[in-house]
Amino acid sequence: MASIKIKDMSVSYNKGKSYVLDKLNLDIKDGEFCVFLGPSGCGKSTAMHCIAGLLHPTNGEIWFGDEIMTSADGKKKDKTFVPPQERNIAMVFQEYALYPNMTVRENMSFALKTKKAPKEEIDKRVAYMAQMLSIEQLLDRRPAELSGGQRQRVALGRALVRDPQVFLLDEPLGNLDAKLRDQVRYELKKIQEQLGITTIYVTHDQTEAMTMADHIVLMKEGHIMQQGTPNDLYDHPANEFVAGFLGTPQINIFPCEVKGDVLDGGAFQLKVPESLKACLAAYKGKKVDLGIRPSDFELAENGGEGIHVHVDSIEPLGDAYLIYVRVGEKVVVFKYTGETAPEEKELVLRPNMAKLHLFDPTTEDRINK
């Protein structure tokens, strides 16, 4: 078990013409469940392959605890490089990579056998993990005879039976159907907590990240946009990208102008609350982007102050309603938790003034602390 430290790591696939990862810095604590989150193609897998030792970064250092694994300084040859087979990591690849010549049982035992673990120990662990992932009845089949979801669970099991320093999981639940995904997600989180092994989990699914992570690293185009606990990122997004990436449905963004003590959104006016006055002082007469999450609205009882909206459509969620409304020309969504959906076409919404997010429209960075 080990903490992971990445210092100024850059990766290029074309000898420095362009960088897929640019000066990445990262600290992952021992035993932490860290999620690399970001849209497809942002460099999550690349970062993970560097940690595994399957890729050589052009620059930077990677440490496991106080042992240096990779150290490169732009030269052809790395200063230090521990090959992947000596790093004691377990990994699930996005493309499963099950050994076609081996049964599921042999696949799962393979790494432990390579390490010459005693046979009873191997059998015990494989049986336990097969049960946790409900693949016991598949143990004597070959990968070609499994469905996508089954292969994915086998790949996961093959990593989890080991006792590595670090788990590296690259979109390990991507091919499971929704119900199974929830179940395996729960099992995985439980197993990780039990074993207490440092884990890096790659996903583009914000729900997975929010539910499992101790530490989210949100990436975009090779840069870390923000990192922290799921609540940090959700409650205090550092910029509009982070705000938009976390939370479903997406946060509503209103371009506004600061006019004295009032935020003017064109179709509505909001009084700036005391707590935001200080940070908006510099924006007098300028534009800001106002972000309000769909769950941070409530219906104003019988008129009252707020944003006047026209109801477009209503989506029942079972325990709540998503109500799509028009504010001027803009379509906005809010989450209504009442028993029955409101019948009126014209509503007044009151945003939760404590949970407003303000962003600079040019830099897209957060204004309020």
């Binding site: 595994a52 399957l54 090959p83 992947p84 087979q85 004691n88 990591i89 377990a90 990994m91 690849f93 493309e95 499963y96 990579a97 099950l98 050994y99 076609p100 010549n101 393979f110 790494a111 390579t114 390490k115 990968p143 292969r151």
Partner: protein
């Protein structure tokens, strides 16, 4: 019930759709007749010598003199085969040894080279590969004299192991080129996964690459066997009297025994038989197009 009926009906409709035949236009039919006539003519043309060989091999020497080669023998006899075996017995054994060891040697070396070339990046990787491809086009006549001198210097002239060595070395480039293609089909993800699972380069070769390309290996081995079995040039130059492969012995059979055609034909068939059998049983795999399915993973 409702569901049952409709599903049966649907399957009937499906069958009908499958069995509807398009009636070909008359000129298409005529063309087909012409095509088949040409094919049959070619078949006869190619098979006639073989037919003649088989028929002659079962005749007595006197009947060979009095009949045309393609008429079946009046009295079937194995005389020709018996005489041929007297001359070919030992050379066949030599051929078998040279073929098996030579093919095994070149496949083994070729496999290792192919693994390194297809799965590991190193400097001059491509240069090595191009050199090997070039080696497969090397005309053997050009190097025959120096080769003979080398074999002499190694004291391997007229020695089975000399032939084995030469076939191993000269078969290796072809084996490498063929196997590199098959190994490239083994997904790199498997190699990476095996590394993560704690295996070094040679463990990966042994535990992952070789077991997943068994059919490819057998294919290359069979290919190599047939080319060594049929080979004459090295056999003639490097095999003297004691280690004379069957191809040479067959040639001598033709040269020494004046016009005993039944014996010569019997000898030819004996020599051709192993290759024929191999192709009949392995033909499926030897068509390279079939290979892709055999090694793909995931």
């Amino acid at each position: 019930m409702q569901g049952n009926i409709s599903s049966i009906e649907r399957s009937k409709a499906g069958q009908q759709a499958q069995t509807v035949r398009v009636k070909p236009k008359w000129h298409m039919t005529a063309l087909h007749v012409v095509y088949y006539a040409i094919l049959i003519a070619l078949l006869v043309f190619y098979m006639l010598p073989f037919w003649g060989t088989v028929m002659t091999s079962f005749k007595t020497n006197s009947e060979v003199m009095t009949s045309t080669p393609i008429t079946p023998p009046t009295a079937w006899t194995l005389e020709g085969y018996a005489s041929a075996m007297e001359e070919l017995g030992l050379p066949l054994l030599t051929s078998l040894m040279v073929t098996l060891f030579g093919a095994a040697g070149s496949v083994f070396l070729g496999s290792i080279c192919a693994y390194a070339l297809s799965k590991w990046k190193f400097r001059l990787n491509n240069v090595f590969f191009i050199a090997l491809v070039a080696a497969t086009y090397l005309p053997f006549q050009a190097i025959l004299i120096p080769l003979l001198q080398t074999i002499n210097a190694l004291d391997l002239y007229d020695n089975i192991w000399g032939l084995v060595l030469v076939h191993t070395v000269f078969g290796m480039p072809m084996c490498t080129v063929m196997m590199r293609g098959y190994y490239a089909d083994v997904p790199d993800a498997l190699v990476r996964q095996a590394m993560i699972d704690g295996n070094g380069m040679w463990q990966i070769y042994r535990k992952i690459v070789v077991p997943n390309t068994k059919i490819a290996t057998i294919t290359v081995f069979v290919f190599q066997c047939t080319s060594i079995w049929n080979e004459m040039l090295f056999a003639l130059v490097l095999g003297g009297y004691d280690s004379k492969p069957a191809t040479i012995a067959l040639n001598e059979l033709a040269g020494t025994m004046a016009a005993e055609f039944n014996v010569q034909m019997a000898g030819s068939l004996i020599l051709a038989l192993p290759v024929l059998v191999l192709y009949i049983f392995m033909g499926k795999y030897l068509i390279s197009g079939q290979m892709s399915g055999a090694v793909t993973a995931s």
